[in-house]
């Protein structure tokens, strides 16, 4: 019976042992190799004291080691927790402390990065995947993994046990951990594999890093179908022409990425010089796809079907829309209708259903829903909406914070957020978190972060601060302060140091006015 994520790999290893499960550059792991290596890693993790319900950190970039690590952690009975290699050590350390990670799986190339993380004084006791013995923690190499007897049987989990925790931006200044069980993760992997009809001969791209929820479809829907996941190296995600060459060389059949990456593929990938006819699905999500770019990409890839994929990390997928031929105007595309087995409600401020056709907050009831936020019952209380909707007992919905409207044809449209969360170039960022970190510099008196629209249809973040009297601060000094705890993508692209903040009649900072000045490029440094 298939009820835990690693079962999907083990089943594929029985049915098609020699098929590639994961490919990265010129290297590959067949399903038999992936099953065996992750069994050995699970055996070693258990020998090193990992028990059911523990959290194992994945301290590795995208690649074969990370793929083995996440299955190995789950086979050992633990939840895997990806630590974004590009984020500052202090932020990774927060995550390690927050969920109590004692074991990390890493790779030799990241030994110096691991040293920086350990220097933050985290409770890690054991690092697997490095040979360096002077790290101050117990270390075991990948050769030790391959020499260890495999874990022989399931770790006595049930599907409600945690599979992974993905940390995302939190409005109080520190990230929050979204917990998914094997049940919620598998439910989504299944619905995606069924909806798009993934098959054993499919070759899916893995564009997103592991801490990004898009990656779960790339790995788990693919494993369910016994298909091949081709990891797109980070350098290729930044170089559209190289990415296009890789799609051609690897004969990819399914692409899944944020719209910005696909827009860059269209505009800068020289795709007219490539044979991309292998692609049969282009899936995109994370933020709206500008209609004119989507239409042009559809024309450039006539063999492919396109689908908008919508759903916050907390609930995996909610709605999808298989894009029909688009009319020649720039009307924003809808997010579509719910996947099978997903129920939505649109409510007003009173939590009652809105009148048909009005905008309201989207509530979702689905087996793909998270268990909650790690160690944050206060956030859970807001995230879960529990009512006896159908009259007999509590029905639990997730409160997405997303505003939507149902069109006359029944499709849902996205209308922004209830709070100050933004999607900037595909990254989910709480503007409040950016403000809290800017305000934590002791020379800063007040701070504001706000989203400014880009030409390519996305947004970027800008910021403004005022300084305490008598204090001096340069923009570079403030940036250095932000870089200690924020990932690069959350650091405002431009920061103005102002004499005074524009304020509304109630005295609140007028962020709309700041964004307007930023758009006009009249927001500048007034003092230092």
């Amino acid at each position: 019976m298939l009820y835990l994520l690693p079962h999907a790999v083990d089943r594929a290893a029985m049915r098609a042992p020699d098929r590639d499960a994961i490919r990265y550059g010129d290297a590959a792991l067949t399903y038999a190799m992936l099953a065996e290596r992750s069994d050995r890693l699970a055996g070693l993790l258990r020998s090193e004291g990992v028990r059911r319900g523990d959290r194992v950190g994945i301290h590795a970039g995208k690649g074969l080691a990370a793929a083995v690590a996440l299955y190995g952690a789950m086979k050992a009975g633990a939840a895997y927790v990806p630590l974004d290699p590009a984020s500052p050590p202090a932020r990774q350390a927060f995550i390690v402390r927050d969920c109590g990670i004692r074991h990390v799986v890493t790779e030799p190339a990241r030994a110096s990065a691991l040293r920086l993380l350990l220097a933050e004084g985290v409770p890690v006791e054991c690092a697997i995947g490095v040979a360096d013995t002077d790290l101050g923690v117990r270390t075991l190499s990948w050769s030790d993994v391959d020499a260890h007897p495999p874990a022989v049987h399931d770790p006595d989990l049930v599907e409600m046990d945690l599979a992974y925790i993905l940390y995302t931006s939190g409005s109080t200044g520190t990230p929050k951990g979204v917990m998914h069980s094997h049940r919620s993760a598998l439910a989504f992997a299944r619905v995606a594999a069924d909806t798009y009809g993934f098959r054993g001969d499919d070759r899916l791209s893995n564009h997103a890093p592991l801490h990004f929820d898009l990656s779960t479809m790339d790995y788990f829907s693919s494993a369910l179908a016994g298909a091949t996941t081709v990891i797109i190296p980070d350098a290729h995600t930044r170089m559209p022409a190289s990415y296009a060459a890789l799609i051609e060389k690897e004969r990819l059949t399914v692409l899944y990425a944020v719209p910005l990456a696909l827009t860059h593929l269209l505009l800068h990938g020289a795709i007219d010089k490539r044979d991309l006819s292998s692609v049969r699905w282009v899936l995109f999500g994370g933020e709206p796809f500008p209609t004119r770019h989507l239409r042009a990409l559809m024309a450039a890839l006539p063999n492919a079907q396109f689908s908008n994929v919508y759903g916050p990390t907390e609930v995996n997928g909610v709605t999808y829309w298989i894009v029909p031929p688009l009319p020649d105007d720039d009307t924003p595309i809808p997010i579509g209708s719910p996947y099978a087995n997903v129920e939505v409600r649109i409510v007003g401020d009173d939590d009652d259903a809105v009148v048909e056709g009005e905008t309201g907050e989207l509530l979702v009831r689905t087996p793909t829903m998270m268990r909650g936020y790690w160690g944050r019952p206060d956030l859970d209380a807001r995230a879960f909406w529990k009512r006896p909707v159908f009259g007999h007992f509590e029905d639990v919905y997730h409160r997405t914070g997303d505003l939507v409207r149902r069109r006359d044809d029944g499709l849902l449209e996205f209308h922004g957020r209830k709070d100050r969360q933004v999607k900037a170039r595909g990254y989910r960022i709480e503007l409040d978190e950016v403000e809290v970190v800017m305000g934590s510099h002791d020379a800063v008196e007040s701070a504001a972060a706000f989203a400014v629209p880009d030409e390519d249809g996305s947004v970027h973040i800008e910021g403004a601060v005022t300084l305490r009297s008598g204090r001096h601060l340069t923009v570079e000094e403030l940036r250095a302060h932000l870089a200690i705890s924020l990932p690069r993508y959350a650091i405002p692209e431009r920061i103005a140091i102002l004499e005074a903040m524009p304020r509304g009649s109630t005295g609140k900072i007028d962020r709309r006015e700041l964004a307007r000045r930023a758009r006009e490029r009249t927001l500048t440094v007034e003092r230092m």
Binding site: D234, R238, P240
Partner: protein, 78 residues
């Protein structure tokens, strides 16, 4: 050209004017440049070197390091 490129990347793309960039430093895999900064960098080179860079030339092998970019520009310059 390498020095000019290093200055542009540090000051304009990374907002860290004091950041030193070695000639052979990996600009792409390390996360130093994202896809948007690559586009800005291409425009900068087109203007400074007076060459036209077709999209199919903006590849990892040509842009992996300052050395590689410099070699590409030399090859393309009249």
């Amino acid at each position: 050209m390498k020095e000019q490129l290093a200055r542009y990347i540090a000051t304009d793309l990374l907002n860290e004017s004091t950041r030193a960039i070695a000639d052979d430093e990996d600009l792409l895999g390390s996360g130093l440049l994202d896809s948007l900064s690559v586009i800005s960098l291409v425009h900068f080179i087109e203007q400074e070197a007076g060459i036209d860079i077709p999209a199919e030339d903006v590849t990892i092998e040509h842009f992996i390091s300052l050395e590689a970019i410099d070699a590409y520009i030399r090859r393309r310059s009249p």
